[in-house]
């Protein structure tokens, strides 16, 4: 224990220097900004800044790059809540209840809870890295292809819960999502699926392309239609910038659960912030006494996912820092930045470069504190966005979305696809289909298929591998239990209440 404190003291002495505080602030600030801009993600930003870091000391460079990544998780919720356009892929579900809250005049509460939840989750996850980084990483390593497959099955069963309308519609959206996820070259056979000879489709459709189209663009189209018929949507006047006592009471258990779910999924390679936020939302809806409130401005639907995505962003550093294996593209870039600095990433970083390791850990806590201090006063400024006239707001959003989408692959095809998904999303709104289950199917489907086939290849075609491995078996049993709860007649009434068609 005393070793931990001396390590942390070392970390704070590194992160607390004026230079490193400055880098941390620059990172957090930049992260917030790119988080707010829809489509523009931390990855492209990190890549652009990489050459600048050549000249910086390694601690400063990594502290700044890390700050951009977790800072983006703070900013991402802003546009989700205010204009129903997700700023980051991990903030897609935040829009469901966050924007509903904004319409009721509770934008201030939603934004503040998102920041507070993120801060709490960030602190907890930082402590996790410090106290239990290496053991957590080795637990994550127990997750092989079989375990992943079973986890995805569990997620897919849970996906049905996401819907607030009819079950049939939810299931068909999940299946549509699965199909969209299949687009591209099959990992195991090299066959193209649904690529129609378009080379840009051979790597599949991007998550941002689908989510920005279905949520962002479709939202703008429907708003324009409504505005031309009935004038602008009534948005209730904002009564308070800060959450009420009741908001806090409803939120804190959700923040705790979201932090837990996010911390777990963040450690898993390939898990990440998107899955974490979806899972946290599903969990909140499942444990809520009255699930019908979801989609209509339930604050737990903001607190849970926003805590989860920040916790996951933070814990995804664990495999990178303790094993030297990146769990996502951003971490791969961080490893590159380390290597350019002459530091071999890997298990020895902790022992050979204690100042760097503990400096980064300490900077995360400082960065989270800075972020909450930056973001809470910004709430007052952001909510003025709600009063910006449509004729200025919408073209601006479309421009930023297009720039963001284009910057992902420097491809105009992606921009056109986003526009296409915008139209499809508009149709979905008209027909009363919800996009969230589709997105979950889209994320889970390819992962599930890939891991199913990988597990079967490794086991030489023996399906018992899913049952022989305890974690996998546990997840499958849990999926069955969840399925039973959904189907069982005794709970059917509550489920029907949960899935009642709106209006």
């Amino acid at each position: 224990m005393s070793e931990l404190f001396s390590n942390l003291a070392l970390g704070f002495s590194v992160a607390g220097t004026l230079n490193n505080l400055f880098f941390c602030f620059v990172g957090a600030m930049l992260g917030t900004l790119i988080g707010v801009l829809p489509g523009i993600g931390p990855l492209a930003t990190l890549a652009m800044l990489l050459p600048i870091t050549f000249q910086l000391p390694p601690e400063g460079a990594l502290i700044m790059l890390a700050g951009i990544f977790y800072g983006a998780q703070y900013g991402g919720s802003t546009t989700s809540i205010l204009i129903n356009v997700p700023g980051e892929s991990s903030s897609v579900v935040t829009a469901l209840d966050g924007h509903a809250m904004a319409k009721q005049g509770r934008a201030g509460s939603a934004l503040a809870i998102a920041a507070i939840g993120s801060f709490f989750a960030g602190c907890v996850a930082t402590v996790l890295i410090a106290v239990a980084g290496p053991p957590l990483a080795s637990i994550a390593q127990k997750f092989g292809a079989a375990e992943y497959f079973s986890l995805m099955v569990f997620g897919l069963v849970g996906a049905v819960v996401l819907a607030s309308g009819s079950v049939i519609k939810a299931v068909s959206m999940i299946i549509l999502g699965l199909l969209l996820g299949l687009v591209g070259l099959d990992v195991t056979s090299g066959q193209g699926r649904f690529t129609f000879g378009i080379p840009e489709l051979s790597d599949g459709i991007g998550f941002v392309t689908v989510s920005l189209g279905l949520f962002g663009i479709a939202e703008i189209v429907t708003n324009l239609e409504r505005a031309s018929k009935h004038g602008r949507d009534e948005i209730a006047p904002v009564h308070s910038l800060m959450p009420t006592r009741q908001d806090m009471r409803e939120s804190w258990p959700a923040i705790l659960r979201g932090t837990f779910v996010g911390s777990l999924l963040g450690i898993l390679p390939g898990g990440g912030a998107v899955l974490a936020s979806f899972s946290a939302y599903t969990l909140e809806k499942k444990v809520a006494k009255d699930p019908s409130r979801f989609g209509k401005g339930a604050i737990e639907g903001v607190a849970g996912p926003e805590s989860a995505n920040n916790a996951a962003a933070q814990t995804s550093f664990i495999p990178m820092l303790t094993l030297g294996i990146p769990s996502n593209a951003v971490m791969a870039l961080m490893i590159g930045a380390m290597m350019i600095q002459g530091i071999t990433p890997g298990p020895q970083v902790m022992t050979k470069q204690p100042a760097l390791f503990w400096g980064i850990v300490a900077s995360m806590w400082i960065g989270n504190l800075m972020l909450v201090i930056i973001n809470l006063p910004l709430v007052g400024m952001w909510i003025r966005l709600l009063r910006v006239p449509y004729e200025m707001l919408f073209p601006a959003i479309i421009v930023f979305c297009s720039i963001g989408i284009y910057s992902l692959n420097n491809s105009t095809t992606d921009v056109l696809f986003t526009a296409g998904f915008g139209l499809i999303g508009y149709l979905f709104v008209k027909l009363g289909f919800e996009a969230a289950p589709l997105l979950l199917g889209f994320v889970l489907g390819p992962l599930m298929e890939e891991n199913l086939r990988r597990a079967m290849t490794i086991s030489r075609g023996d399906p018992m591998t899913f049952i022989d491995r305890p974690i996998s078996l546990g997840l499958l049993v849990a999926s069955l239990a969840l399925l039973a709860i959904v189907i069982a007649p005794s709970v059917r009434r509550t489920r029907e209440a949960a899935f009642q068609e709106e209006g």
Binding site: A47, I52, F54, L56, F143, I340
Partner: protein, 359 residues
Amino acid sequence: MFVNKNALLGHPMNAMLGGWRHPDPVPDALMELPMFCRFVVAAMLAAGLLAGDACAQANYPTKPVRMIVSFAVGGPTDLVARVVAAKLSESLGQQFVVENRPGAGGNIGADMVSKAAPDGYTLLMATVSTHATNPLLYKKIPYDPVTGFTPIGQVGITPIVLVVHPSLPVTDVKGLIELIKNNPGKYSYGSSGLGSILQLCGEHFRALAGGIDYVHVPYRGSAPMMNDLVAGQIPIAFDGTPSAMPQIEAKAIRVLATGTQTRARQLPDVPTLAELGFPSFDCYTWNAIFAPPKTPEPIVKKLNEAIQKLVDDPPTFKRLQELGIDPTPKQTPAMLEALVKAELAKWAPVAKATGVQLD
């Protein structure tokens, strides 16, 4: 400010600003042209013609140069390109901007450069995939790796090593082959994807070791594969030194052999497969710069000299080494052309034997 001038040079934003400040490069360029050229250009402008080729070449580069990386941001090729671009910007006095055009295993970006104007302002950071293995494995390839480009110069190579999980009861290649032979079909090896160079190494090894029966497990990239190797989910893998070295040093995996003809710089005590009785085994990845076909000779020469100079610059040399690249000095365009042809010839039979055909 915390950034010095050199650092800013490599920054794409700066390049964009530069580009905006000089929307038309001709007037500025005019002042620096040799006297004769200035006269010709002036005459041509007066005649309503575009500036002559020869003069544009003498002054190259007069505007930002795009360096296309046909792989994702943050990947190994992207990192190499960013180090190289930062240095080229400095030595040639114009921004070299890295632009990622990922997709179709690198073919989209490569095809784009192959069809770009041959003016030296669009370059490709090519790899063994774009110029050797993809043309052999894809059913349809939109460019020709030899005639579709003007070779500029090789940047460096990265050795590939044969590694196993420490729980595997073998310490050398002979033992590994015996183990697989005694347990046909029981062991699997990982690669970064179907048709990847790592799979080709694995299949080449299979053939040279007498058709051993081990199963290929493709991943999406080298990182998830290494994760499963360290965790013991798969026992065997071929991987590049950048991602393998940290795990070898931490004893999380065991290295049995190096795939290149000479021993790897980082692993002087580890034998090569060539030393161990597979003299033809030569497996590595490489990075090289190509321009579109018919790029004028003066531009090629200027770029090639700049790339050769990269290796003489200690910080750049060191940065490339840290990324796991062994910079190859004194590389001429002719040597690069020969390399591409040799690589295509080397991998053709292996690629055919895998039966892999990518859509």
